[in-house]
Structure formats: structure tokens, C-alpha cells
């Protein structure tokens, strides 16, 4: 009886560890986004093709208003992390040459920037001192065949601490949405 009651309590007690479980089961993207074959596999398994016009993006205040993308997540079955940080949004732009740009929108706490420097080295567009003193407009790295920008996600006041990471192996200009609203 004692064990049965314990079992019932176990079943009905709230589970504070759910967030941890989600993080444990999340898919880590740090290697995937730097490997075209892994990216292609990820797209076929977890994403579906999308097309939004610039007018549709503007009307909906889309976070990629000025950037091209043609893949978004197909369902909500997988959570993603990037260096262990929860990723809010993932989009991918794939061009005709099967080159990629992965967009990750996420919160990056200040401490994580130090970790990024450990992993990737200091960004090419800042000196170490400037990086550490928070004196830069954006961050840029080159990793193998990929280039990486981290910009502030500046769309709204409620996303002040969010960043948009762009990891790409195509000409950067291709990623820009210069389409004119007709």
C-alpha cells in the first residue's frame, strides 16, 4: 500500500524537470549548420518548403523581413539548441546551387559570448579588447566554407536581448531580399 501511494504521488505530482527534459531531448545545431550534408538531411526530415512574399512578410511583421528564406519547421516535435542555448526560431534559405543560409533567432546571454570566443575564436571584425568591452555593431566569423554574422534582432522592443545568427556558404547578397513590393 505504501508503495502504491508513493506511485500515485509520483504520477500526480507536478514535474518541474520538464524544461530540462526538453533541453535534454533538443537537437543541438552547432555542428549541423556548418555541414551541408547534415543540413540537407535536417531539411528533408524536419522542414517544409515555404514561400512568403515581401508584402506578406511586412504585413505580419516577420522577423526575416529583409532576408530570403524558403524552409521553415514542419512541426513542433523537435526543440533546437545552439551551443546549449534554446533556439526560438529556425529558418533556412537554400539557393539553386544547394548552398545554405541558416537563420537562428535566440536569446544570447552576455556570458555566452565569452563561450563563443572560446569555440570560434574572436570575431574578425573586432579586436579582443573591443569584444570584451561590448564595443561592436555586429560579429563576423569564418569557419571552413561558412561565414557567420550575428546581428541584434532589432524588430521590436520586446526582443531587445534577441539575436539573429546567419550561417551561410553562399554569396551574402543572395540572402538579402531586395524584391520590390509590387
Amino acid at each position: 500500500m505504501k508503495y502504491f501511494l508513493s506511485f500515485l504521488i509520483f504520477i500526480y505530482l507536478p514535474r518541474p524537470a520538464i524544461a530540462q527534459d526538453e533541453k535534454k531531448n533538443a537537437m543541438e545545431l552547432r555542428s549541423t549548420v556548418l555541414d551541408p550534408m547534415s543540413l540537407q538531411k535536417l531539411l528533408s526530415e524536419k522542414f517544409h518548403a515555404v514561400k512568403m512574399t515581401k508584402s506578406e512578410k511586412q504585413r505580419s511583421n516577420h522577423p526575416l523581413l529583409l532576408l530570403n528564406f524558403n524552409w521553415s519547421l514542419a512541426d513542433n516535435k523537435t526543440a533546437f539548441t545552439f551551443f546549449g542555448l534554446h533556439v526560438d526560431s529556425v529558418y533556412v534559405f537554400q539557393n539553386e546551387k544547394s548552398q545554405f543560409c541558416t537563420f537562428l533567432i535566440l536569446r544570447i546571454p552576455p556570458r555566452a559570448f565569452e563561450h563563443l570566443a572560446t569555440e570560434w575564436g574572436y570575431p574578425e571584425n573586432t579586436a579582443k579588447e573591443e569584444y570584451l568591452s561590448d564595443s561592436f555593431d555586429f560579429l563576423f566569423w569564418e569557419k571552413d566554407q561558412f561565414q557567420i554574422f550575428i546581428n541584434r534582432h532589432r524588430l521590436s522592443r520586446d526582443t531587445k536581448d534577441k539575436y539573429i545568427v546567419q550561417i551561410f556558404n553562399m554569396h551574402y547578397r543572395e540572402i538579402m531580399d531586395f524584391e520590390r513590393i509590387e
Binding site: S60, Y91, R154, S156
Partner: protein
């Protein structure tokens, strides 16, 4: 064997033509299609109100359209987020063509027009009117009010303003990002310049737009852009100074050459509204204009950095700044705007210095 096959085909055909079959599949399509959608009532004056709807599927009818196709019609009750029901009656129409299913929300000012007792001919007429109204309001969004002014143009404080209201479905992915958008015209209000909806039977259900979620009032983190309507019609402008540009060139000695520059006196211009190819009108609020301008600045800076970072010669400051401004202008052109030195030249243009919050303290501008 042949007769068995014919019989089965006949059964199948009969079943797929039946009203029950049409209703079942139309309902399944609609529920699946809108499972991740948020419903709103949006106006062409940038007011957005969240709504909730209840579809009376058990009272749905299946009627024939003039072209012989089937139209599934279900009465709908729609409430604002405040709980107040919207005036009139509503009916959801679902049709199927070779391209797939399509939905349309119909409205009639009569509270009892669409209900479970509505006749088949009324439903057919209601569908035709809804199609016509939607098509017409895509073609002539801007029309004179009773004082002969355009609805979206500046009017005096006491002048009535006609506002078109649209039923919208915005579909989100798991992370809350927009992946689909649909809207259709519902009705027009012409009596309230503040965009309040007409009163209900109990003496008024109009809600103050300021109490609603103002989706279109987003702005950039440090509010560097102050867009104001200037002397040109349908035009708003903001000026920006001290846009930081920074180039870093690596050298053989591994001591990077750093050059800091500032781009000054850039005037960003955007329309306050524009008409889309499909005839619908999109308004561009001051907050949205600020977002567009801020993003254009952000990505133009990235492009400028990539353009010159491997330059074998060290280009002049003027060359780099000119390139940056050119990229900003390209982005703005995409939104039917411009970025240049003078803009309209209006004295009303407000110039701010570019301000950026710190990475380590996003609340500090």
C-alpha cells in the same frame, strides 16, 4: 468483375458528391489549416483586434454555386477579445476547386441573416455577396468619405473616416513565427475616426483600440528612427546621423588596420500606405517604418563590411560610406521607399543619432 468495378466506382462517385462528404472534408481541411492560426480583425487604419469564433458545424449547409460547384456554409459567431460580440451575422464559406480548398468569411449587418434557419437561396446569395465585396474592396480600398476625401488621407478631427475591416488568419510555426497569412474583407465602418467598431444591441460594444494589442506599433530597440508625415502626400520620413561603420583589415604583421567612420544625414522615406498587386492596401505605421529602416541599416552594414574587408587597397572613407548608403537605398526601394541625402527636404524631418543598446545590457541605450 466488370460489373463489380462499375458498382464500386458508382458508389464512390455518389459518396464524393454527397453533402455529407463535402461537409466532412471541408471541415477537416479548415480545422487542420487553422489549427495554428490566430484570428484577428484588422483595419486599413492599422488597428488590429484579436477575435474568437465559434463555428456551428452541425448547422452547416451544402449548397450549389452558380457554376455547379458545392459551397459548404456554416454560421459563425465572432467575439472580440473583450467578449463583446461583433455586430451582424457571419457565415464561413468553404469551396473546393482544382487548386484545393478556399475559405471566405461572409458578413451581413442583420443579426439573424445567417443562422440555422437560413434558406439555401439566402446562403447562395450571401456567398455571392461575400465574394463580390471581397473582390471590390481589393480593387478600391481608398475611396472618398462623404466629404470627398480619401479614407487614409489626413482628415480634420471631426471628419468621419471610413475604415475597412478584414477578417485575418495568421498562421504561426511552433516558435511563434508567421508562416502564413490570409485576409478577406468583412465590412466598413464610417462613423468613428478612432476605428471603434459599431455598437452592439446592448448599447455599444465598441472597444478602444488603445486597449487592444497593437501589433503594428513595434519599434526598434533604441528608437533611433522618428518617422513623421512630411510635406509629400502618402509619405513619411526620418533622418539618421552618426551611423557607425567600422572596417578591419588584417595585415601580414597580424596587426589589424581599423578604420571607424560615421555616415551622416541619411533621410529614410516610406509611403504611409501602398496598394498591392492584388488590390489590397497595406498601411505602414511609423513603428513599422522604423523597423524597416533599422533592418535596412543593419544589413547594409553587413554588406558593406563584406564588400571591403578583403579589398587589396584600402578604399577611401567616402567610397565606403557611399556604398553603404547605396545598399540602404536598395532595401528601402524594395518597400517603395528611398534613402538619400535630402528626402523631401521638409523641415519636419526629425534627425536622430543612431543609438544602439549594449550587447551586455540590452536595456541601456
Amino acid at each position: 468483375m466488370h460489373s463489380y468495378y462499375s458498382l464500386c466506382c458508382s458508389c464512390k462517385k455518389e459518396q464524393s458528391d454527397s453533402p455529407e462528404y463535402a461537409l466532412k472534408h471541408a471541415k477537416a481541411w479548415y480545422l487542420k489549416n487553422t489549427s495554428k492560426s490566430t484570428l484577428s480583425l484588422k483595419s486599413n487604419a492599422s488597428v488590429s483586434k484579436k477575435i474568437a469564433q465559434t463555428i456551428e458545424w452541425e448547422q452547416a449547409l451544402v449548397v450549389s454555386n452558380s457554376d455547379g460547384s458545392q459551397v459548404v456554409a456554416a454560421p459563425v459567431s465572432i467575439k472580440l477579445s473583450t467578449g463583446s460580440p461583433l455586430d451582424g451575422s457571419f457565415m464561413l464559406f468553404i469551396t473546393k476547386s482544382a487548386k484545393g480548398y478556399k475559405s471566405l468569411m461572409g458578413h451581413n449587418p442583420n443579426k439573424d441573416y445567417f443562422s440555422k434557419t437560413t434558406s439555401e437561396s439566402t446562403v447562395q446569395k450571401g456567398y455571392e455577396i461575400a465574394c463580390l465585396a471581397d473582390a471590390n474592396h481589393k480593387k478600391q480600398q481608398l475611396r472618398p468619405t462623404n466629404k470627398g476625401r480619401m479614407a487614409l488621407a489626413d482628415t480634420g478631427d471631426d471628419d468621419p473616416v471610413c475604415i475597412d475591416w478584414y477578417y485575418t488568419e495568421t498562421t504561426y510555426d511552433y516558435w511563434g513565427n508567421v508562416i502564413g497569412y490570409f485576409e478577406n474583407f468583412l465590412f466598413t465602418t464610417c462613423d468613428d475616426p478612432n476605428g471603434n467598431l459599431g455598437g452592439g444591441g446592448d448599447g455599444g460594444n465598441g472597444s478602444d483600440p488603445s486597449e487592444d494589442e497593437e501589433e503594428n506599433q513595434k519599434d526598434t530597440d533604441c528608437e533611433s528612427f522618428t518617422f513623421k508625415k512630411t510635406s509629400t502626400a502618402n509619405w513619411q520620413e526620418a533622418g539618421l546621423n552618426k551611423v557607425a561603420l567600422r572596417m578591419v583589415w588584417s595585415t601580414l604583421g597580424n596587426t589589424p588596420i581599423v578604420r571607424l567612420m560615421e555616415a551622416n544625414h541619411i533621410v529614410y522615406g516610406l509611403p504611409t500606405y501602398y496598394t498591392n498587386a492584388d488590390g489590397t492596401t497595406t498601411t505602414v505605421s511609423a513603428g513599422q517604418a522604423a523597423n524597416i529602416a533599422a533592418e535596412a541599416t543593419e544589413y547594409a552594414r553587413n554588406l558593406t563590411y563584406l564588400e571591403f574587408r578583403n579589398s587589396p587597397t584600402y578604399p577611401s572613407e567616402a567610397t565606403i560610406i557611399a556604398y553603404f548608403k547605396e545598399q540602404v537605398n536598395l532595401f528601402m526601394l524594395g518597400h517603395r521607399g528611398t534613402a538619400g541625402v535630402n528626402g523631401s527636404g521638409s523641415p519636419a524631418i526629425i534627425f536622430n543619432d543612431e543609438e544602439r543598446s549594449h550587447w551586455t545590457d540590452p536595456t541601456d541605450c
